[in-house]
Symmetry: C2
Subunit: 220 residues, 2 copies
């Protein structure tokens, strides 16, 4: 029998896993921590990063990869604070994929970084399904979204290494019950760190920043 | 030459369009208006519908199809108000597809309905790409999400027949500039009705309800 070439079609998720795996190896070799911030549109992911800049400066060499469907608005906000930032546009897709993140990482000055934040496209569903090679996913949930979101969108909260409840300065004006939200989080995801923060007042931001720095391989 | 059967693979979106088209014909035959509410998780879609019940009762025979990734929580909220409601679970998907909506519609008592709301899965991106056979999409944007969302997630706002800005009772506590948001909406989508509402205080809900009733074929 003559030899036939067998064509192999790798599906999208398989290719994503390959890139995620390469990214994970790359980051491990350089002792860089990469965190993947995931939350709804307007949950305050960029505002959280803006507010963390002061606490990170001098303690970490960090960069941000900003994921969006369109515009460079979020990257411009961080660039204005002097943060090394790249904008990743998803071409209409509702999540970032590992290949794009990998190539954006290679364009950073990795030798001088110890921390990279990926801010994913605003979406509580799909980004949780796509491994980017990160060390951990951070679920960002605004208290304006309602205490039941961990029950309604459980995958992200199960996958997350930590949860950040944002905009807690608005709690006096909302029907949001913090204790009920914590109970829902435990129900879907067991025990894990939950930070209550306000990017407006700064409340809780230092505690989350300390936790992030503690995760860095360089701090161990 | 012998005849060969040519296999045709219809892609997912093609199948979706077929079901959407059948739904559109079904609704036209029955003179039923179907609106597809799309917005982020926690943007207040269910709260808006809850608040509209009083204004719709006696003026419209309506039903709701509640889309969620998991749980029947939103359907239960409307059921408690006596609204005919079905829960559509997306099995983890970030949007509703036309086939599921079509079958859920067939199980309703269509002969006595003139209005159906579909509340899509909470997501500003993907649901806008899937035609469900609706007469119009309604973009639901909470003012807590930020005035720049029409620029960052333009597809939904371009596709929408009307925009509802929710939670306006929180405006005094936010940096949200209404005029900037209106300008962004015009920039991406031209002129279309924009309603400013608060499901908590009831502000603006009657105006949106009147607009919905005016769209019903039975009111013409």
């Amino acid at each position: 029998m003559s030899r036939r070439e067998i064509r192999v079609y790798r599906d999208l998720m398989g290719a994503n896993e390959k890139w995620a795996s390469e990214t994970r190896a790359l980051l491990r070799d350089r002792s860089i921590l990469m965190l993947n911030l995931i939350g709804s549109p307007g949950s305050g992911k960029t505002a959280l990063l803006e507010r963390m800049v002061d606490g990170l400066c001098g303690r970490s060499a960090f960069a941000v990869l900003e994921g969006d469907v369109e515009t460079t608005r979020d990257a411009e906000r961080l660039d204005a604070l002097g943060v090394p930032v790249s904008q990743l546009l998803s071409s209409g897709a509702c999540h970032l994929e590992a290949k794009l993140v990998h190539h954006a990482l290679l364009d950073l000055d990795l030798d001088r970084l110890d921390l990279v934040f990926v801010e994913n496209v605003g979406n509580l569903v799909c980004p949780a399904e796509f491994d980017l090679g990160e060390a951990g996913k951070i679920a960002v949930l605004s208290v304006t979204e309602g205490e039941d979101k961990p029950l309604k969108y459980p995958l992200l909260f199960r996958e997350a290494s930590a949860v950040v409840l944002t905009k807690v300065d608005l709690l006096p004006y909302l029907g949001f019950r913090l204790e009920a939200c914590h109970a829902h989080l435990r129900q879907v995801a067991g025990e894990r760190p939950v930070f209550e923060v306000s990017a407006r007042t700064g409340e809780g931001v230092d505690a989350f920043t300390r936790w992030v720095l503690d995760q860095c391989p360089s701090s161990r």
